[in-house]
């Protein structure tokens, strides 16, 4: 019985700063981390494994250094790790990424439940989970913050705009996990040691039953046309001074704008 967790290595975007002189992203020394949402997805899978047995398999697609986040997952308690790495996978958008993950998960069948983080902090699209479920023809429940697995079905609570839905689906299924669901465990020293000894399976495109036109950039319907820093529309009035002067100025301004 397999519990699959799809994870992604992301730059720690909370650490990224913009150089005010050049207006460029400062990327030097920015650490790569496991997408924080995925830590919660992994924790959910580990808890289910501890209750129901089976094994937790973590899967990621990325360059060779993505192995680091698989080691982190093993250290937290995952049983095995698969790295999907091939130059041909590069430039994949969410559709090509989910297609590739689906091919890997088919190879790992039979699968009980697939976990993804609700979204990744670098792209924030929340698309790979539902797209992966669609490629696999499985039901999905997105934004889960509570779940129970019984026999052949899952009951999960998902947060919608102004209400919660309690939703049930047959297994196998896919869930995307909200950060409010649990508190991820920290890797133990023993876990770290074990993680370093656990071999990581690496699959390239040749190891998977895939159509080369559906992976990487070739399989991606979307293209980045340009990247830029936004131009701000507002005419800023900036004041310096002591707190007394500044607060007087703001109160006067707000009064003039009829906001008090």
């Amino acid at each position: 019985m397999r519990w699959i967790v799809c994870i992604k290595q992301v730059p720690d975007t909370t650490e990224i700063r913009i150089d005010s002189r050049t207006n460029n992203l400062v990327r030097e020394g920015i650490a790569s981390i496991m997408n924080p949402y995925d830590c919660h997805a992994l924790e959910a899978a580990l808890q289910l494994r501890d209750q129901h047995g089976g094994q937790v398999t973590v899967v990621t697609m990325g360059p060779s250094q993505a192995e680091e986040c698989l080691r982190d997952a093993l250290a937290m308690g995952a049983d095995e790790a698969v790295l999907l790495s091939d130059p041909a996978f590069r430039g994949a958008d969410t559709l090509a990424t989910s297609y590739t993950l689906a091919a890997a998960i088919r190879r790992l069948a039979p699968v009980q439940l697939i976990f993804c983080g609700k979204q990744a902090i670098d792209g924030d699209t929340a698309q790979v989970g539902p797209e992966l479920a669609e490629w696999l023809g499985l039901p999905h429940i997105a934004g889960v913050e509570y779940l129970v697995v019984k026999a052949n079905n899952i009951t999960a609570r998902r947060e919608a705009e102004s209400e919660y839905y309690l939703v049930e689906a047959n297994l196998p299924a896919l869930v995307t996990i909200s950060r409010t669901m649990n508190e991820p465990r920290l890797p133990s020293v023993w876990g770290r040691l074990r993680a370093n000894r656990t071999p990581i399976t690496v699959w390239t495109g040749e190891d998977l039953d895939i159509d080369p036109n559906r992976i990487g950039l070739a399989g991606s319907p979307t293209r980045v046309k340009r990247i830029f820093y936004p131009q701000h529309q507002r005419q800023t009035q900036i004041r310096q001074g002591n707190a007394e002067q500044l607060s007087n100025w703001l109160v006067k301004t707000l009064a003039e704008e009829r906001l008090l």
């Binding site: 730059p11 975007t13 909370t14 990224i16 050049t22 460029n24 992203l25 060779s64 590069r90 430039g91 958008d93 969410t94 559709l95 902090i121 792209g123 924030d124 699209t125 929340a126 698309q127 539902p130 479920a133 669609e134 499985l138 039901p139 997105a142 934004g143 998902r158 919608a160 705009e161 102004s162 209400e163 919660y164 839905y165 309690l166 939703v167 689906a169 409010t180 319907p221 293209r223 980045v224 046309k225 340009r226 990247i227 830029f228 820093y229 936004p230 507002r234 005419q235 800023t236 900036i238 310096q240 001074g241 707190a243 500044l246 100025w249 703001l250 109160v251 707000l254 009064a255 008090l260």
Partner: protein
């Protein structure tokens, strides 16, 4: 990628093309094996999924009709609203008054509540039948659940959380602009060879057109064969006890990392209360565990459109700024004169919020007291 103004092509290359634009001597080119398809020509019209809740239209659908109207006019095509539900009386007329030329209705008991299997089946079937060029959905929890499922079934591109939509005149492609890289930069995305071009847009980003009761349009019922489309079963539904309603707030006082902890946020809450407003935060206080995620404004939080937004100790990452684009007046209080928030503010106060905010509270209360006398 671009580091310190220099193009670097390495293993992490995502073929974003930034290096091509940057190179002054056109030494870098991006050779993509494009698969030309002429099929894109037979797709036309701009579609908007009109999300409903308890048989009422959600505001984001009307906002999408606003931008959809502009896109359809540029392309000289029709703007079409899509309604899925169990009771849709009166909703199509409302969509037409807000800009739609045509509304497709699929009425079925299986569509009473949002269920991703049935909704995906209905929307996909209609898209395959009618072949729209563009499909827009609200980036609400349900829209962000439905859109990727539909995009994968149609095997087309989808761009999440767009903050800008435009038409590229030469190609007719939809230019989909969104924050990227953790919200530190903006990217314009296209879907050149696949149709429909799908995009989601957060509530409050676009503006709805005022209703015009004189507008006329076509209302069509699509005969959807309801079947075993459901993938999940909805067992129950309960309303969230919402602590905050930032989207509707008139005045917002927001704190960032500079608030320095829950006590700092308490001080800002006091200012908010004094102004009759609501407290909000940027990403950092949520990450630090100072406050619940419900209070977060920005790309991963709420998009707000208050009359007044006072940002205290917020540096102003793009991902935060996209959430406050709709604010009438933005005030920034920050110790760092170089903080990007100042470029996005109408009024900037360079100083310590812990000195300025208590004075503001006292002075505003004094004015309020004088008024009551």
């Amino acid at each position: 990628m671009i580091i310190e103004g220099m193009a670097i092509v390495n293993e992490g290359c995502t073929a974003c093309g930034a290096c091509v634009d940057l190179c002054p001597v056109e030494a870098i080119s991006l050779d993509l094996d494009e698969i030309p398809t002429d099929e894109t020509d037979e797709y036309c019209d701009v579609w908007v999924w009109l999300e409903t809740r308890d048989n009422r239209l959600e505001g984001v659908g009307l906002e999408l009709l606003g931008i959809g109207r502009e896109l359809a006019d540029i392309k000289q095509e029709k703007l079409v609203g899509i309604l899925l539900g169990s009771k849709l009386e009166g909703l199509a007329e409302k969509a037409i008054s807000h800009g739609a030329d045509r509304v497709w209705c699929i009425t079925d008991p299986a569509l009473e509540h949002y269920e991703n299997g049935a909704y995906t089946a209905a929307l996909t079937e209609l898209i395959n039948q009618e072949k729209p060029a563009i499909v827009l959905l609200g980036a609400t929890p349900d829209g962000r659940d439905l859109a990727p499922r539909v995009a994968a079934r149609l095997q087309t591109g989808l761009t999440a959380d767009c903050t800008g939509l435009a038409i590229e005149l030469e190609t007719g492609n939809l230019l989909q602009t969104r924050p990227a890289f953790g919200g530190n930069i903006m990217a314009t995305i296209i879907t050149p060879h696949h149709r429909p071009q799908m995009a989601t847009v957060r509530p409050q980003i676009m503006k709805a057109r005022p209703a015009d009761a004189a507008r006329t349009g076509e209302i069509l019922d699509y005969p959807f064969e309801s079947g075993a489309w459901a993938l999940t079963r909805i067992l129950s539904q309960e309303d969230t006890q919402k602590q905050v309603n930032l989207e509707q707030a008139d005045i917002i006082v927001a704190g960032g990392r500079g608030a320095d902890g829950p006590e700092g946020l308490q001080l800002l809450q006091e200012l908010a209360t004094t102004l009759g407003g609501t407290l909000a935060v940027s990403r950092a206080p949520v990450e630090e565990g100072w406050i619940a995620p419900d209070y977060q404004v920005g790309q991963t939080g709420k998009t707000v459109a208050p009359r007044l937004y006072i940002a205290c100790g917020i540096s102003g990452t793009i991902q935060h700024l996209v959430g406050i684009q709709g604010a009438d007046i933005v005030v920034a209080i920050n110790r760092d004169p170089k903080a990007p928030i100042f470029q996005a503010a109408d009024y900037g106060l360079v100083g310590d919020l812990f000195e300025i905010v208590p004075l503001l509270i006292t002075k505003i209360r004094k004015i309020q007291k004088q008024r009551h006398q």
